[in-house]
Amino acid sequence: MSSRLDTPRRVGLLVTCLMDAMRPAAAFATVRLLEAAGFTVDVPRAQTCCGQPGYNGADEQTARALARRVMEMFADHEAVIVPSGSCAGMLIHHYPKLCAPGTAEHAAAALAAKTSELCAFLHRHDVQPLEKRWRGGKVVWHDSCASLRESSTAEAARAVLGKIDGLDLMEAAEAESCCGFGGLFAVKLPELSLELADRKIAALMATGADIVCGPDPGCLLHLESRIRARDLPLRVMHVAELLAGEAPS
């Protein structure tokens, strides 16, 4: 792990729009984890959304405008933490594509270099979970697509969760398949989105788990909304909540 010298003491948090509005407990859990590890957490007041809906949904101009806001907001932070695989992927991989040479490409590259998804950051700095001993039931892990392919979360999350005694993380079949959220995809093609959710939920439940845990508020909200509509015995937790010792929803 890194020495104390290259460990940032003050970190910026992009809480992400879905976690802010729909799962505030996970945002507080994120702050608690970081503060307990000795980091000062700065949450820029002007933050709203990273721009992903516009970026994947069609509106390039709005996505670019929001990217610039985020780049300015975190210009002075040494490290930026994002408790969402897809939003972290947006800052790390997609902002640089949105900023053509001669526009703000240096700022985008600088932000990308200092941005980490939460689990990747916790793992890199050897942060200990606040939850020491798990007694909460069987947990199955759901990698989000972005956390598998864009934010180096998959291994880091398993390593950090592995520090909790009594937590045997289960793996579902077809774990690399998308859960069908896809942001505006779920709005534009709702039947397909639900079908993919049902397939994912079936694979998760086939493990016999009581709880599904993951690093991406988008996937979790999508799956939870379907689980509740079907009244299924599967609860949902964001990885920050589990690490911080919160109860599942």
Binding site: D20, P53, G54, R149, E174, E191, S225, R226, A229
Partner: protein, 452 residues
């Protein structure tokens, strides 16, 4: 009909869903095993992807070289700017040769230009000889997958089609297993091969250094199409060019593993010119039709990456949307991620029916693409263009505008998220919509409560 309507119909089609359930174990698992067992996958992938991009950067030179070498070997090379021109060239060749019965190998380019229908309309008797293509020809359907054209069908459906089509065979014959169906198709197709005046095949590569066309099949039907009739026509699109046999060899190694998980296709054949005097077989007359149909215009644009596509089908097989709805829902011969990236690039009208929305941006297609094509990025570029042109549901566009306005105004945004959460807690019925029940947030938004 929109993509959404077609995908809804596909989800409700029980026979289709049963057939599609074979895709993950059949293709995804086999590819994973083949790639895991091949230490050179990443390095060959990089070499092949770079080779293809270098060819595309100097396409005219390689095309000229290919043409010169192929004609030196006795073939005639034709350039077709568009589908209509390609159909006219091929019809003309067949007419001049006095051909009537035509056997055809599998070719996505021939599907792209709707060749079989055009030839039938012109009076030729055309038989598709790839088993999957033969089945869908009997059903008057289009392929639903670029390498497995009948993947949307179950064995029971195929048996019923054969009972219906092969009415000279005893109706009570045993058709219970795949082997029986294959044997029956083989017997029927053998007669067609022997009686054919001309063969039409596609190409997986055009090798510039020798003027050779390369074809891979698992059934050997392409070789019979090419070698039994006296006239051979090869149809291929211009981006199939590679510099040399080394370039072609890398494509073979990537193609079979990515497509079906085989190390190599069962038949891999190279066709260079007409039958020579000392040869016992092969065509007396060979034509190669090179199709552009919008491709050259892609050079120098982001979509030129699609000209590196080798049509392995890995992106289809790994796509959650394709796995759920199959190929016909895409309304074109090119489905799945490669279809979303290619269709609107070749014909902008494809932006209108919403197929480009059929992608969750999960990125698995790019992860498995042997030619390193950034498929989600290309699909996103199409979405940007569609948005600029004003396509898409008015409610969604309005929602996006409202979101964009709020996201740039933190104070208003806080009010909106606060109000939204309050409404969900106060009126639980608002949380239920379209098969979902949104969880009400536990308390006011984080950004409202957080003080620092």
């Amino acid at each position: 009909m929109s993509f959404r309507a077609r995908s809804r119909a596909a989800l409700a089609d029980a026979a289709l869903q049963k057939a599609l359930a074979n895709v993950p174990p059949g293709f995804v698992a086999k590819r994973a095993r083949a790639v895991a067992a091949w230490a050179d996958f990443e390095s060959v992938r990089k070499t092949a992807a770079a080779h293809k991009r270098a060819v595309l950067a100097d396409l005219e030179t390689h095309l000229a070289r290919f043409t010169e070498r192929a004609e030196a070997a006795g073939a005639r090379v034709h350039r077709a700017a568009n589908a209509g021109r390609a159909r006219a060239v091929i019809t003309g060749i067949l007419r001049r040769a006095g051909a009537r019965a035509v056997v055809k190998g599998k070719s996505m380019v021939s599907e792209e230009i709707d060749l079989t229908a055009a030839l039938e309309e012109a009076g030729f008797a055309v038989t598709e000889t790839d088993l999957g293509e033969y089945i869908i020809q009997l059903r008057h359907e289009r392929p639903s997958h670029i390498i497995a054209p009948a993947v949307h069908l179950s064995r029971e459906q195929i048996a019923a089609d054969f009972l219906n089509a092969h009415d000279d065979l005893p109706p009570d014959r045993d058709m219970a297993d795949n082997a029986a169906l294959v044997e029956e198709a083989r017997a029927v197709l053998r007669q067609r091969f022997c009686a054919a005046d001309a063969g039409i095949i596609g190409a997986n590569a055009l090798i510039a250094e020798t003027g050779t066309t390369m074809l891979v099949t698992n059934e050997g039907n392409g070789d019979l199409c090419a070698n039994l009739p006296r006239l051979l026509i090869v149809i291929a699109s211009i981006e199939k060019l590679v510099v040399d046999f080394a370039g072609a060899a890398n494509l073979i190694r990537l193609l079979a593993r990515s497509a079906t998980g085989q190390e190599i296709s069962v038949y891999t054949s190279f066709f260079t010119g007409v039958r020579r005097d000392d040869e016992a077989g092969g065509p007396e007359e060979m034509h190669i039709v090179l199709l552009d149909n919008g491709r050259r215009a892609l050079l120098g644009t982001p979509f030129s990456d699609m000209l590196a596509c080798i049509r392995c089908g890995a992106c289809l097989n790994h796509c959650p949307v394709f796995q759920a709805v199959g190929g016909h829902a895409y309304g074109d011969v090119y489905p799945g991620p490669m279809g979303l990236a290619l269709q609107p690039a070749l014909k902008p009208a494809a932006l209108e029916d919403g197929i480009i929305e059929g992608c969750t941006m999960c990125g698995r297609c790019a992860e498995v693409c042997p030619m390193l094509i950034p498929l989600p990025d290309l699909i996103r570029q199409h979405r940007f263009r569609a948005h600029e042109k004003g396509y898409g549901a008015r409610a969604v566009r309005g929602g996006l505008r409202l979101w964009a306005w709020l996201a740039a105004r933190p104070a208003a945004y806080r009010l909106a998220t606060r109000l939204g959460g309050w409404l969900l807690r106060r009126f639980p019925m608002l949380a239920r919509a379209r098969g979902r029940k949104l969880p009400a947030p536990a308390g006011a938004p984080f950004m409202v409560r957080r003080r620092s």
